[in-house]
Symmetry: C2
Amino acid sequence: MAHHLIIGGGGMLGSGLVRSLADKNNQSSVKITLFDLVEPQWASKSEQNDNNVEIITCKGDIADPATAHALIADRPDIIYHLAAIVSGEAERDFAKGYRINVDGTRYLFEAIREANEQDGYFPRVVFTSSLAVFGAPLPDVIDDNQILTPRSSYGTQKAIGELLLADYSRKGFFDGIGIRLPTICVRPGKPNAAASGFFSGIIREPLAGLPAILPVSDEVTHWFASPKAAIGYIEHAGKLASSLLPEQRNFTMPGVSASIADEIAVLREIAGDEAVKLIKREPDAAIETIISSWPKAFNTKIALDLGFIPDSSMREIIEIYVKEHEPQWLSDQ
Amino acid sequence: MAHHLIIGGGGMLGSGLVRSLADKNNQSSVKITLFDLVEPQWASKSEQNDNNVEIITCKGDIADPATAHALIADRPDIIYHLAAIVSGEAERDFAKGYRINVDGTRYLFEAIREANEQDGYFPRVVFTSSLAVFGAPLPDVIDDNQILTPRSSYGTQKAIGELLLADYSRKGFFDGIGIRLPTICVRPGKPNAAASGFFSGIIREPLAGLPAILPVSDEVTHWFASPKAAIGYIEHAGKLASSLLPEQRNFTMPGVSASIADEIAVLREIAGDEAVKLIKREPDAAIETIISSWPKAFNTKIALDLGFIPDSSMREIIEIYVKEHEPQWLSDQ
């Protein structure tokens, strides 16, 4: 029975991943452990459902070295390390960001190394990295050989995680793969304080009949994936045959390069001019400056060769949101 | 009075750096603290010489968090962090390499951050990185935007040091600059076990009338600096005006791209055919494979713009060795 461990199992991607893993395992039995700082809201205790899917939830602090040892005690086959202090918090609390994002990752990797040396334990480890590892000046299209010069502590911590993953994999302590996820769009839920929040907000809010603020110009272009595509990347990274993995263990995921104008055009097609009118233009030079240093597009040859499948277009990205969340505006039309 | 702290002050570069700093300070008084695992052999205790140069030697373990606090207690103006477990040892002893090269570096940076938050302490920090941060596949000429994909734990540890230095500098905790040194040639002293040892050995040994083994073909090309140039880079990095430093705080130093054939041609010019005959060709496929993944040449635009001055040629590199070490062979001719 395959055992999957999802560290950071309580977040949007973690809970999507467990649903996907559980759905696809009707034939064979599977055990999934969901771990997070707060116990993931899947089930309050171990449960076995009709589809031979056993789901266990647990909580703890990955910045405590004992946690990783406990998590790998029964030797999960595939470990998805999605847990991180997010960008804004890592920037505000320098020490905490390094403690969770660097030390926590290293404790996990060290626990696996010790187990590897004890009994040959050799799990697949999937690590989610971020476009925040990149910093200006950037070419318009970034390839797999671009230097990582993060402009945030979060990006630095993810870049260090990538380096550790590559070295532990090279040494044969585990079988690692690090995937840099595009900016997720349309992110469901409430608006948040992230500088990138408006990319989702200008779609999500108008579709709910609510106003949305657009702080940048229509030409701003960025790299996107739907939550569905991102979860698909993580799942695919967990399943890829070891023999296929390239020496370069960390690389950027495919995505859709789209501008604000592209997003608005799709919103108009789907929800009409009235929805588009809910977007309020409030140019913010500070945000425009931050965003202007972000990546616009990638040549993700390594990932495409390995079969990671992106959304086909911004239209598909927005339709995925509409299908999954049935926003109020559209049902009112 | 300027106070320089050299961490790793007992090595070839550290002892060359202190000589250079002391020589150039005839006008103004200077204090230099030399720190290493074994007490550097400069003087057994604090001493003041005629040139207003005060040199202090001390020893300790940088993997002990208390050490960095003690080293910065009297707030040195410029810190040169040259200390590291070398490549071969970091590969053999995984935990020790991370303890010294990653944890030791982080303890130093954290101690400076604490001092910065206490009293605004803001030293220049010069960190010596390595070409080992690069891994194949590499273009023939590598620019300042090449991704770091180290193929050794040592290279990984240096790449992590670069990322930390950039983040601490970006946050304003200190004023850091990370310089990737070329392979040093001609390295004085006895042959060592490094895979790159023959680049120096095929010059140094014949000049001493001794045989040298050449395990690779004449076409093998690599990136070199004399010890004199490398010490000049470190000193220049310590003196550069903060206002000149680019956002990218880590970059490769200029060097001389030269092949084995180039080295041998200079040896023949300087010491004749008899010296060249002391080079014994013993092809070693394993070493050839390792070396074939090493960098051949760089476009070091950032460093050149900042005034780092390389050797002019392999001829100059070898003449520097001859001048400084007066090898036996030449004096016998």
